[in-house]
Symmetry: C2
Subunit: 125 residues, 2 copies
Amino acid sequence: MNDVEAIHARSRSCLDAMNRGDIDAVMDHYTDDAMLMFSGVPLVKGADAIRRHWESVDQADREAKLETLEITVEGDTAYEVALFEVVSVDDEGLEHQTSGKNVVVWRRGDDGRWRLNVDICATDF
Amino acid sequence: MNDVEAIHARSRSCLDAMNRGDIDAVMDHYTDDAMLMFSGVPLVKGADAIRRHWESVDQADREAKLETLEITVEGDTAYEVALFEVVSVDDEGLEHQTSGKNVVVWRRGDDGRWRLNVDICATDF
């Protein structure tokens, strides 16, 4: 498996963990000093704060999809450019769709695994 | 001037060009196949489309500020993480403030100049 394939696999396993609400598995994908930068949310810095962010999101009725446009690897850093779609169902059973753009800066750890160091999402509307 | 200083300088000159509404100078900072990914705007791909985006923004009563948090260089690719603030005045003279997060993937061209290859901005609210 080359670096691009490894990052694809990590990207998919992170998304799968988000979609099934497995926060421990999600957090295995972030570096300790990662930054989460989402539309509608001020900067979230560091693994503890990112864990609290994901714990606050109701995963039960939410599914995210990602379409990767580009992965570029340079040494132990890589970046991924993607489009995303999130479908969620609110307490009254109404469906909401969100779409947007996502850039991830991946960093390879000493253990050889790639982790999200910057995760920025800009919604389309 | 090292790479980080060169990128800082390019980042500042790009912002200055935006703030004075000099679209030709702004466009000198983007690669031909750059992607602009802003909150509230679907993906804008390629220099021609990015030019039309910036031409559509009223620069006269708009000022953007950028606080760079991090610049990481790997070969001919670099990424910059920043916070931004935009103050604009509408037709009725009312001031609007926007703040958010910005990640730029910079690429060094054959001419040695750094250009924005991906420019993603996520507003805080």
